[in-house]
């Protein structure tokens, strides 16, 4: 009997806990919901009644989205395009180059490889402020200040974590597989791309997730490296709208924030499991 009561008490406790978490979760996403509502309200209503739902007086439909696209001296779709381009190319470049480098480092394991490996680990703890001035300068001198060349900078500054994660994985691959490939007549390139690279898939996904989130959200590096008069990314664009205009169109800003969140949410909904695993794997970064 006592046991039965205990069970019942436990079930009731769980129901209460579910209710509590439902409430907290609702509050947790409230900021995003508020921004969404406000993106449909006229500029003057955003500041005065931020918690109010859009009503007949304040509702402006998709005007904010249309205005936001061309608000300021720089069109938003251009910033969004550059953001997508830089994120995709940088991530692709990092995945390809650092996985090859990490394989070389682990399998050759000579003095030079070890030095590069330890330099990579060292680079993980160095804060960006340490190199911000000199990196921006180097990039400008070497003409790396365009969206087409900035992936090189991302590969250079982001190589540390990626090499570290790939090298950790390569150490767990049995050598016999690669030796067998060699005996069957495969050169290093064939061995890597036909045998090793496919096996790296879990780490490729983890590193890919980390790099995508880093590059997409990054502000200071592209702000310093890119030629600001010609090229902007989404974070730079949003900061620029706030900073350089006396009268900020808050409605338009809310719309642009929602637009910049949409790709993130699609990304999250399609591969939530990989994202959480990837982010947890990146926890090694100090």
């Amino acid at each position: 009997m006592a046991r039965h009561e205990h069970k019942a008490k436990q079930t009731r406790g769980k129901t209460v806990l579910t209710a509590v978490f439902a409430l907290i979760s609702a509050v947790w996403i409230l900021p995003i919901v508020i921004v969404l509502f406000n993106s449909f309200k006229g500029n003057s209503y955003v500041n005065s009644e931020v918690f109010a739902l859009p009503n007949a007086a304040s509702f402006v439909g998709f005007d904010n989205y249309v205005n936001g696209m061309t608000f300021g001296n720089y069109p938003f779709y251009l910033s969004a395009g550059y953001s997508v381009y830089i994120t995709v190319i940088s991530t692709g470049l990092i995945l390809l180059c650092t996985s090859m480098a990490a394989w070389y480092i682990s399998r050759v394991d000579d003095l030079f490889s070890r030095i590069v490996y330890y330099l990579c680990i060292f680079s993980m703890v160095v804060p960006f402020q340490m190199v911000m001035f000199t990196l921006a300068n180097t990039a400008r001198v070497m003409h790396l200040d365009t969206p087409w060349t900035i992936p090189v900078v991302y590969l250079g500054f982001g190589a540390g974590l990626a090499v570290f994660m790939f090298a950790g994985f390569v150490k767990s691959i049995p050598l016999a597989i690669e030796e067998a490939a060699y005996i069957d007549g495969c050169g290093p390139l064939t061995t890597f791309f036909q045998v090793v690279f496919p096996m790296m898939k879990p780490t490729l996904i983890s590193v890919g997730v980390l790099e995508i989130m880093w590059v997409w959200n990054d502000y200071l590096l592209p702000y310093l490296v890119l030629d600001q008069t010609k090229y902007k990314t989404i974070p730079i664009h949003i900061q620029y709208l706030q900073g350089s205009y006396g009268r900020v169109d808050l409605g338009a800003t809310m719309a642009l924030i929602i637009l910049s969140l949409i790709p993130i949410f699609i990304f999250y909904l399609t591969c939530q499991k990989h994202i959480i695993r990837g982010v947890a794997a990146g926890a090694v970064k100090g």
Binding site: V46, C97, A101, L119, M130, V131, L155, G156, E179
Partner: protein, 294 residues
Amino acid sequence: MARRRDHSNITSNLIRRPIQRAFAVFLLPTFLCFCVGFLWPFLQGMYLSLHSFTTTSNASWVGFVNYGKAFQDAGFRHAFLYTGQVAVVSVVLINLLAFAVAYGLTRGIRGNSLFRGVFFIPNLIGGIVLGYIWKTIIDSVLPVSMSIQAQYGFWGLIVVLCWQQVGYMMIIYIAGLQALPEDMMEAARIDGANGWQSLIHITLPNVMPSITICTFLSLTNAFKLYDQNLVLTNGAPVRRGIGATEMLALNIAKTFTTANQRGVAQAKAVLFFLLVTAISLIQLRATRSKEVQQ
């Protein structure tokens, strides 16, 4: 660790030579980019911290003068203390909240994974956008803007940091809690321990590694914080040249914008780098010693 040192295990003479000959394809591209994107700027930064300069080409040797000026800079000292305050408060709050959420979400309740997913969402949003979401909300709730009242700026930043990081730390705590040995909990229950006692005496000691990781992660996050600080207050209010809510990273970035202060800014950046590295080294030692105990 032992396996990594054992040479024969990760490389074999059979495949070593052919790979080594392909150096130009495998390692060289990454290494060159690494030099451009990290190594050269880092070394140049170290070198320039001992020089007076406005551009990299007109540097003249001044020794440790820049470091002296950095220490004398009241704004920098204030930024250091303020960063420390933000770090302490945010580390404590983030970890308490994240642990509480993780604890609740490992009780096997309905809608578990949905709740986890929701808590994790803010982590995906970058600092700039995150800052504007909250700035809009906080500034319209408060009687005066965060840029006018420093107290509001402080707590606003704490709210933003908690919202952003609780979901992330929660994931690490959940992993730690799920690895708890079931038989140990069972034994405690049979011995008559109540929920509170088993939390203190069994759960907490066993998730110590997760606590260490999360503490240091939130600590380094607070020290490196830039974007949110820039967006929420940009260091304002400023009194006698000292930004009341200016953190270290923002102070360094602002110092760089004054042309004749660049040497001082670079010296500050080196000090900042040493501080962050020291924290990382302590973290490494702490995690190692925990591993030995287990």
